[in-house]
């Protein structure tokens, strides 16, 4: 074993002091290099100032050295920065991939859970029915009423599964929107009136700022109602007592935009990418399916629009739905 290199072997107490003073978690060697980067140029600069009073050529020499030092350390820092940047973006890509996988995982867990219960009942009823049939064989006396009951139960559980798969298909299917001229200001106000009472229970203000000259929009009215209602409900669930929700709308030549803003706790940065994923929820179990926002996302895409969210933790969140005023390809 070679002896430790002298560079790395800073006196133990000094390293401790370093670590305490800087909170540095880097290895001793790296810390030293880093500190050299920072400390040497100013130290040299100090010497230059001191030398200026003694001898100008010496000062110039020192200044040159300081500049070279600074250039070297800048280069090293830039290299290190770009290395970290590369590592970060590759990590990001991995993270997105793993979040997608997590979303699929959560989705399948949700489906599995929903379908497992009826399957268990079906299995039990089948066993019971076959038990009844074998009893009937033995005694030559059949209790068909009970067998029929079991069959009926199986049938109803199959229907239950069918409902679940239909719901999922609904979720996945892109339904063609039915286009009508929609008075968006009135639509938003109608849906807000549904939320008003619940909001007043919670002492939450629900403010509409809808310009009177907001143009009508050719879009699918019930789908848009669903989106607006879901977003307002979501905002209401996000704010505490005394919170505030503001719904605004505006239009330009190309699009009509609706914002639903709340002053709740906002969205944690690590959740921003997942907020529209199906089954993603930050609410306690049983208090939200995690389908509301992903449904909104699907519906808005179906209407050829975009939905986005902006949030600073602690300062609330604003959901923005932007819908095109002229759909490509004319009449759908």
């Amino acid at each position: 074993m070679s002896a430790p290199r002298p560079r790395a072997s800073l006196p133990q107490s000094a390293r401790l002091l370093f670590a305490t003073a800087t909170g540095a978690r880097l290895g001793g060697e790296r810390t030293l290099v880093l500190w050299l980067h920072f400390l040497l140029p100013p130290a040299l600069a100090g010497l230059v100032v001191a030398a200026t009073f003694a001898s100008l050529p010496l000062a110039a020499l020192l200044a040159m050295a300081a500049l070279i030092m600074a250039a070297c350390s800048a280069r090293a820092l830039i290299r290190r920065l770009s290395e970290t940047e590369d590592a970060r973006s590759s990590l990001n890509a991995q993270l997105i991939q793993s979040q997608k996988l997590a979303a699929i995982g959560e989705l399948s867990a949700g489906i599995a859970h929903e379908i497992n219960n009826p399957l268990a009942i079906i299995a039990q009823e089948t066993e019971w029915a076959s038990h009844l049939l074998s009893e009937a064989e033995k005694s030559n006396e059949a209790d068909f009423a009970e067998v029929r009951d079991s069959l009926r139960e199986i049938r109803s559980q199959v229907d239950r599964c069918k409902n679940i798969t239909h719901k999922l298909l609904d979720f996945a299917r892109k339904r063609e929107p039915v286009l009508q001229d929609v008075d968006v200001a009135r639509l938003v106000d109608d849906m807000a009136r549904l939320v008003d009472k619940e909001a007043s229970y919670k002492n939450v203000s629900l403010t509409r700022k809808l310009p009177e000259d907001l143009p009508t929009l050719r879009t699918d009215a019930p789908l848009l109602r669903q989106v607006v209602l879901n977003l307002m409900t979501n905002a209401l669930q996000a704010v505490d007592r005394g919170g505030a929700i503001t719904v605004t709308a505006e239009a330009d030549d190309d699009s009509l935009t609706i914002h639903v803003a709340d002053n709740g706790p906002g969205i944690a940065p690590e959740n921003m990418d997942k907020i529209f994923n199906p089954f993603f929820t930050t609410k306690p179990p049983g208090q939200g399916t995690g389908l509301g926002l992903s449904l909104c996302h699907n519906l808005v895409s179906g209407m050829h629009g975009q939905i986005s969210v902006a949030s600073q933790p602690g300062q609330g969140a604003t959901f923005t739905v932007r819908l095109p005023r002229k759909l490509g390809g004319g009449q759908a």
């Binding site: 009508q180 009472k197 619940e198 019930p222 109602r225 669903q226 209602l229 879901n230 409900t233």
Partner: protein, 131 residues
């Protein structure tokens, strides 16, 4: 355009008065006083728009809506509610109701919504005929 409405509410007075008001505007109205009755009528006839009360004894409006969506997916449903329950509103809209109206509803407003719902149904029927 001729519009056929099914009006479902357990309050008979409310149904009768409203039916009259629609009829003087040349809109055909069938009354039903419970969810079961409404579903039975829907088996027999095709309606363009159903105006459906949410809170009814027996089968409630949301359950009726669910069955209507299966039975007659093209028929549009306007939910009518006296108590603004947000939860029921969300469920109703997510089950595919056309609109949700708070009682007491302004009649002209309701009429306008009925016309728009009927227009949507006609558009859907036309789209389906095209394939």
């Amino acid at each position: 355009m001729e519009i056929r409405i099914l009006l479902v509410d357990d309050e008979a007075d409310f149904v009768e008065t409203m039916a009259k008001r629609f009829r003087i505007r040349k809109i055909t109205v069938a009354p039903a006083y419970s969810g079961v009755e409404a579903l039975k009528l829907m088996d027999e006839q095709d309606f363009d728009v159903v105006i459906l009360d949410v809170r009814m004894p027996g089968m409630d409006g949301l359950e009726v809506l669910r069955q209507i969506r299966l039975k007659r997916p093209l028929t549009e449903v306007i939910m009518l509610t006296g108590h603004a329950s947000l939860d029921a509103g969300m469920q109703g809209m997510n089950l595919g109701a056309y609109d949700y109206v708070l009682k007491p509803a302004d009649f002209d407003e309701l009429l306008d919504k009925v016309r728009r719902a009927a227009e949507r149904k006609a558009l859907n029927v036309r789209a389906q005929a095209k394939g």
